[in-house]
């Protein structure tokens, strides 16, 4: 199954409550997937600075020495804010790529979850309630966010197998469904120089979008072409720095509900996920059409 939720705020006054609303929506979807859970949240950005969200099994202990190592290697100031097994590294934007190179060469145990101006991704094995609590998601604010709870079908129950997946700077993807041509596509993308970390089908979907966009496609164009190149079942929800999109495969057997008011656009795998949002009684609520790209941006 898997459960997806998404919330894109139009009304800035709701931004301090984004994490709280998103985590409540995700917890409602717990029985669609008990294996692992994660969220991508788009928060504050600072001009000239980039954020890398990283994960390490050891959490805080692993990060204590890291800050000095990285600052020395990069010859710049950076700060690391830990959050359980995850941490956000704040670095000058022009040093972000170099930081990733150093991390992958010298700190292979540290996984990069996301990179960008405003995105942060937190994901771990466990129920949505537990994952949300350990990362204090309720206290987070932001302009939009996406959550996922997983029932594993295509690969192991690990942090790497959890969603959301980063598809590029400030971009992410969550997926309900299963892709059946992911092995062939993984080989093709790998030959094209795209790095894929896990055996997970969704990571291949995310890598596919990254590859398409690296060839000059917009996210909308990349999603359109995924309808042709991806075989299998999918409902995708994607996030970008200022936008939020939804796409279902042409067969559309994976459920999806959208709701829109003057204050927000919300996505849920089921209507239950949306029932406690403010003003939902008067919202426009509908099922997104198959093979149709929906996109909202600020």
């Amino acid at each position: 199954m898997c459960g997806i939720v998404g919330l894109f705020l139009k009304d800035k006054s709701l931004e301090p409550k984004l994490g709280q609303m998103l985590s409540e929506m995700l917890i409602t979807m717990t029985d669609r997937g008990p294996d692992s859970a994660g969220i991508a949240i788009y928060g504050q950005e600072q001009k000239g600075r980039s954020k890398l969200t990283v994960q390490s099994e050891g959490g805080r202990e692993d990060y204590a020495a890291l800050q000095n190592d990285l600052a020395a290697a990069l010859e710049t100031d950076l700060s690391i804010t830990t959050n359980d097994t995850h941490a956000v590294i704040d670095v000058a934007a022009d040093k972000a790529s170099e930081l990733r190179t150093i991390l992958s060469a010298q700190h292979p145990d540290i996984r990069v979850m996301s990179q960008g101006d405003s995105i942060e991704i937190y994901k771990e094995v466990g129920l949505p309630g537990a994952v949300s609590e350990r990362f204090h998601v309720s206290a987070m604010s932001g302009s939009h966010g996406i959550g996922h709870t997983r029932m594993a079908t295509e690969s192991a129950v690990t942090t790497d197998g959890a969603h959301p997946y980063s598809t590029g700077p400030d971009q992410c993807l969550v997926h309900n469904g299963s892709l059946s041509n992911h092995n062939a596509l993984r080989r093709k993308l790998t030959r094209n120089g795209i790095k894929i970390e896990s055996q997970n089908d969704t990571e291949v979907g995310a890598a596919y979008l990254t590859w398409k966009m690296s060839q000059g496609n917009s996210l909308g164009e990349a999603l359109e072409s995924s309808l042709k190149d991806l075989d299998g079942f999918f409902t995708f929800v994607v996030g970008t720095k200022d936008g939020f999109g939804v796409l279902r495969d042409p067969i559309a057997c994976k459920p999806a509900v959208l709701a829109e008011t003057d204050q927000y656009v919300a996505f849920g795998s089921e209507h239950r996920a949306l029932v406690n949002l403010p003003g939902i009684e008067d919202a426009r609520v509908w099922e997104p059409e198959p093979a149709t790209v929906y996109f909202w941006s600020h």
Partner: protein, 227 residues
Amino acid sequence: MLTYDLAADGLRGLNAALQAQSPDTNQSQWDVINPKGSHAIAVGLNAPIDVTVHGSTGYYCAGMNQQANIRVKGSVGPGVCENMMSGKVVIEGDASQYAGATGHGCLLVIKGNASSRCGISMKGMDIVVHRNIGHMSAFMAQAGNLVVCGDAGDALGDSLYEARLFVRGSVKSLGADCIEKEMRPEHIAILSDLLEKAESDAKPEEFKRYGSARKLYNFDVDKNTTY
């Protein structure tokens, strides 16, 4: 009139109470409040009672219904009225996929849109959709009537048996072995009756009829390599 608060008193209690009603019950009017998208509301009923659900529901609302009249003042999730036997169900909003699957008898009215696979494998029930239906609707439908006052999606009536399909608007594409057929007076009569019961003011003369070409479901020895 009995009011049941689903948020306060739970789903099992609701279905147990509704299923316990006898054919001559005097508790014949039920209002269900706070459904909040819950699954399996008002399933397995077998008494001539009226149930009104005030809000939207999740999966499998009104499944396996016999005799009861159920009205949902909201939208329903996947699988509304699966395998329904008798009674009448009215959805005032939209219905998600496979609405009315495998239903034997009864009337299902959807006042909004129904998404994909509406009336899949229907076995004698009548479905009236006031607006549009999605792809693969009436797939392998065996008997009964599917009436669509708006448009139909791709592959309508694929591998159809003997169900009648009436569509007022456009049909994106017909499925294998589904063809347009002549609208005769007896079909106008069936349609008039269903539209009236379904609270629709559409005119029967505005509809086209589709049915099975009957070429697919009989074994044809000359085509045995294509099966």
